[in-house]
Assembly symmetry: C2
Homo-oligomer: 261 residues x 2
């Protein structure tokens, strides 16, 4: 029997920072038919509040680390302010949203990241996703809304990359569903020429991806983003798309579709 389709949509700070864009996106997301999950990143409000509280970004070897004070801020802003406001707007649009962190019902367990002796503070890498409970919510006509906070099951909260949350949830749910993962960001898709916003490469397979990296067309921040997407496809996610907020409208807007072959 064909699996049911599940849409997982990840949005980042660029939409969250703009109230009218966020409202418009959440209206479109609410109108999306069928089972769906939203994953949201942070936004500039976390940095503003950290700054109002007199905190400085903490860097080690040029990488940002999440110290205890900054963990407190991201927990407040991601799991509290953003998650509850986004959920309230979805409820207003008659989408039966439920805001979640990885802590809740043990949805996402992670461990504290330590790489080659660098302690990234309270940054978490995902170990497991409670797909059984997430499925129970979906069957109950609830739309989970995940923020990027997880825990280690020993009482410690952890700050986790929102792209990773989306991909780990997508991989875990792909056992049960035909998962369509959509990464919404500020561009219309992966661009052939970075200065031309309409030079969207509409389809990229694994072979083409490797060539585009070699040619330097895909570089910097897009490399981990696409690496993450291909990882999802290799682990069972049916389809991955990258584009701007119009991606979920169902109209035939420009975007990039990734596939293995």
């Amino acid at each position: 029997m064909a699996k049911q389709t599940l849409h997982i949509v990840k949005i980042g700070g660029n939409i969250i920072n703009n109230e009218s864009e966020l409202n418009s996106f959440l209206k479109d997301f609410s109108a999306l038919e069928g089972l769906k999950i939203l994953v949201h990143g942070g936004g500039k409000r976390a940095s503003e509040i950290a700054s109002e509280m007199g905190l400085q970004p903490k860097m080690v070897n040029g990488r940002r680390v999440t110290d205890e004070a900054n963990l407190e801020v991201v927990t407040m802003v991601y799991a509290g302010l953003l998650n509850k406001n986004i959920t309230a707007i979805l409820q207003h649009n008659d989408c039966n949203a439920l805001g979640l962190s990885g802590v809740d019902a043990n949805c996402i367990v992670a461990h504290k990241r330590i790489v080659k002796g660098i302690d990234y503070g309270f940054a978490g890498d995902v170990d497991s996703v409670n797909s059984e409970f997430i499925n129970a919510l979906l069957q109950h006509k609830v739309t989970p809304v995940f923020c990027a906070i997880t825990h280690n099951k020993n009482g410690q909260l952890l700050n986790t990359n929102a792209d990773t949350i989306a991909s780990e949830v997508a991989i875990a749910m792909s056992n049960l569903f035909d998962v369509q993962l959509n990464y919404v960001f500020e561009l219309k898709g992966v661009l052939e020429h970075i200065e031309d916003e309409n030079s969207v490469i509409s389809k990229i397979n694994l072979n083409k991806y490797e060539k585009l990296v070699e040619q330097g067309i895909i570089s910097e921040g897009m490399i981990p983003k696409l690496h993450n997407c291909f990882n999802c496809l290799q682990k069972g996610v049916q389809k991955v798309k990258i584009g701007n907020a119009s991606l979920i409208k169902g109209t035939n807007e420009l975007h990039t579709t990734l596939s293995l072959e």
Copy 2:
């Protein structure tokens, strides 16, 4: 058929402000057998953060009002920082907790309070509780953990009294369960002599309550607290107890039990 028992426990700032007391309480709460719900109030961290962000408490006619900036702080602290930390500690104690605000899955809908021309800002009075969804969570062996943030279903978050959240949830769930509501606060119970912490009145019925108010033994803040408790009993809650953190240990510690007759 006799209804199944559901324990609803409300804790306030006095426990939340003390890390070791909170940990100890959450361990006891985790050990409590059967179906249960936790409701938590705020704590001094919300005031500290408001102050760090340069906010002043806003008063109108001597009453505190929740302006937009303070709503942002309580949303962050109650629904983010406190709710997720409490949930993480419960998960560590193998209690399958799920942190919720009234927004999530439309659990608690409220309206903005306006009394005799005084606008209390974003303070919410409860209209309805989604007992069907809360029951679905309980049947799924999940322990809901409510913070005192609700919404009006039109996208607006509201700050709501945690005692009220506990009583409204208790009343709504009493259709389905034999509800035992426990208010945990800083005293061992309702005191006969305010200066003697052991002068706990062990049983108070409605008749005795009215006499104690007449005599001035119950006064000030205890009046709305007890009024709220008797309201619960009149609307179907099976039992209401008031006491300190030892209340939920099941040992025979001093506390006050309220009953109608």
